[in-house]
Symmetry: C2
Subunit: 244 residues, 2 copies
Amino acid sequence: MEKHDPSPHISSRFNEDLEAVRAHLLGMGGLVEEQLRRSLASLADADSALAGEVVRNDAQVNGMELAIDGECLRILATRAPAARDLRLIVAIIKAITDLERIGDEARKIAHIALRLASLERPADRYREVRHLGRLVELMVHEALDAFARMDVEAALRVPHHDRQVDEEYESIQRQCVTFMMEDPRQIRRMLDLTWAARALERVGDHAKNIAEYVVYMVHGQDIRHTRPEEVEDRLRSRANAGAA
Amino acid sequence: MEKHDPSPHISSRFNEDLEAVRAHLLGMGGLVEEQLRRSLASLADADSALAGEVVRNDAQVNGMELAIDGECLRILATRAPAARDLRLIVAIIKAITDLERIGDEARKIAHIALRLASLERPADRYREVRHLGRLVELMVHEALDAFARMDVEAALRVPHHDRQVDEEYESIQRQCVTFMMEDPRQIRRMLDLTWAARALERVGDHAKNIAEYVVYMVHGQDIRHTRPEEVEDRLRSRANAGAA
């Protein structure tokens, strides 16, 4: 397993700065995970109070993004980091954008929960959406974990959930259309469920982005827009050549 | 009107680098605008060949993102820019992410056009969606233009289209639900139209993000998550205090 081996820096203050900003990113990640978990719970339990909290807490997520962004700018301006340290800072600038957008999707799900809370809940408490939710929660968690440990192998596993996400998403779409056709009075509710499913699918995309920044950070290789198998092949051939 | 007044740099090579990367960003912006325009035309004209081209050209957008990202990293690493120059580079790193995602939305609209092309077109050729499309095309164009001229006032006008976008979007949603209820055989087509409307709404969000980076670049002030009126007030009071 490849890990980041931090090289000694000229200034230990610099190391402290890097550690602090990394810790803040992970703190923001923890809050965003919590927002996502609670938005899904508020949907399943028709819990309007909880959904309202999720909506209100989104401001905190946004504030964290701005604060971390400011820290990164300050480090770039005052320390002029190079190589891996520079890539770490740029990766953090990118990752907080994705975290903030996961927060936005959680807020959207909470809004849907608020609308649906007034309707009678189906007996299965939106089982399919909850299932898809667990899947993308796992992706977010794995991506943040890979970021925290700078673990490329773990990061490369994140996109592997994609096919399952796609299948779940397609299945929810089909089911919603069927329900709409059978009972047009269900159309609004079913539209809300398709929005929730789409929000979750986007959360999965953001988790993949975060995982990709880990590879970029450690190897200086940008794997966005590349199929996972290709990336693994490339990294393997580099490792065999002893260049990693 | 406030403009960026580039201060003389120690190295003219550095200035050339900055100009080159800015030109590449605007080139990418032009391609993305073209992709969006063509995706909407392929929808209105049921033109599968055009839709197919949009889908294929998305790879070019992605390639431009990676190339510009690489340029920015190189400038950060070799020139260690400060103050405005640093903010320009970070703003470009952020803006290309939004441009790439606008490209993704155009690709999604082209996919929808491909699906809808086999069905009979309504007489109005999706008038409402085309209207929403023109609105967000305008937002993208204004945002890129503000970026090119580093024109804060122009950038601040971009979010003003928001209310109109929201109204158009809500109106399309309501209409689609009505059509679905009247004729369940229309459900799939109407779902596709709601997806297209949602894609356009997201394009508008990305345009707003790009406009916000202009303010950040020129003033070093991050206005994301702030209401437009508040930002204008703040900038006005700074200008009055002679600090701008």
